[in-house]
């Protein structure tokens, strides 16, 4: 049997693949990488593209498309930390600006100071409502 290496492909939202592979091919920023068992520890960014795995006893290669991320090689384990979204300085910046603008929009008619008294009154009212509801519920049971 050919030598194998354990591979985990994970994204923030789910685990994509976990198992053995004979070779992992990933699109690194400095060029395509092929990782074989006993590769020395390596950490690199990967570009958007396919990550291919040769799974033992399976003719077809497993292919996952990742939109970038980080590839880490430890002795015996390869981890692909895949991004779930397209990343890039400009894209991230645009998203940040959007979130900021939305916040500014929402804040347009705010006072300068936090009105703690009012906020607390508001919360106390809500808590009292819940407490009352619970009391009513207990009584009717």
């Amino acid at each position: 049997m050919a030598m194998t290496i354990h591979v985990d492909v994970v994204s923030a939202e789910k685990s994509i693949y976990s198992g053995l592979a004979e070779i992992v091919v990933a699109p690194g920023v400095m060029g395509e990488l092929g990782i074989l068992p006993h590769h020395s520890p390596l950490i690199t960014r990967i570009k958007p593209g396919p990550v291919r795995l040769k799974v033992p006893d399976q003719a077809e290669e497993e292919v996952f498309f990742v939109s970038g991320g980080i590839l880490e090689v430890q002795p015996g384990v390869v981890t692909v930390l895949a991004d779930v979204a397209m990343r890039g300085h400009d894209i991230d910046e645009a998203k940040a600006l959007e979130a900021k603008a939305a916040a500014e929009d929402a804040m347009r008619n705010k006072g300068s100071e936090i009105d703690y008294a009012r906020a607390q009154a508001e919360l106390a009212e809500a808590v009292a409502q819940i407490a009352t509801l619970e009391k009513i519920k207990k009584k009717t049971h």
């Binding site: 985990d8 994970v10 994204s11 923030a12 939202e13 789910k14 685990s15 976990s18 690194g28 920023v29 400095m30 020395s40 520890p41 390596l42 950490i43 690199t44 960014r45 980080i70 880490e72 430890q74 002795p75 981890t79 930390l81 991004d83 779930v84 979204a85 990343r87 991230d92 910046e93 645009a94 998203k95 940040a96 600006l97 959007e98 979130a99 900021k100 939305a102 916040a103 929402a106 804040m107 705010k110 006072g111 300068s112 100071e113 936090i114 009105d115 703690y116 009012r118 906020a119 607390q120 508001e122 919360l123 809500a126 808590v127 819940i130 509801l133 009513i136 519920k137 009717t140 049971h141």
Partner: protein, 287 residues
Amino acid sequence: MAGSKEIRTKIKSVENTRKITKAMEMVAASKMRKAQERMRAARPYAEKIRNVAAHLSHAHPEYKHPFLVARENVKNVGIVVVTSDKGLCGGLNTNVLRLSLNKMKEWESSGKKVSVSAIGNKGLGFMSRIGGNVRSQVTGLGDAPHMDKLIGPLKVMLDAYVAGEIDALYVSYTRFINTMKQEAVVEQILPLSGERLGAAEGRWDYIYEPDAQVIIDELMVRYVESLIYHAVAENMASEQSARMVAMKAASDNAKNVIGELKLVYNKARQAAITKEISEIVGGAAAV
């Protein structure tokens, strides 16, 4: 038969309400299961990225990422407030907002300025009503949390941290303990404590492509994002289970109300019949 028609209408209306709350309960129950799965699905990534980040910070002592450096004089605090978009989920949002507010008050009374990043409609509404300094926000996350939507608002906070506009970052959300129990918590995100990062197993030197600093920078941002993502995923599971419990209570209440109304209705009906009979008997006796 005065009032019996009104009571009948009332019973009908409460029955309709009960149908709705019952349906919402069942919808929340199925959404909760999915939300819990999502919460679990995010765990491997968080665990892996934590491990790599721990490795890197140990293997590379000469470069300290700003996220890892604790600042001596904390003047400005940022807090990411995670709430739900929709209501009808019991005291969930109220609890988390109350806790956040208490913390904010504490910080302000010790002379620290607070700015907020609001995730979720309820928190945003509350923060803007009370006049908090909202730096960024995102609402309308839907049933599944998406990293895509969280990157923007979080980047605003992370940039502010790197630029020195805030010296510490916290997150407040509702932790999912089990279906019946959720707990509002405030956790510190930045600076990342060594404890949170933990120790790495084994030690080795990496080959870095392109170079260590770039990788560490990217990794740290992703690590913090995964922490926030996890908080949001957990908040969503909490939201659905809180809604399920709240709607179950509402359905039970409606059932009780229906029972009571039926009793009143039957009594009224009985009284009307008795009255009619006595009238007939009285009439017959008179003839």
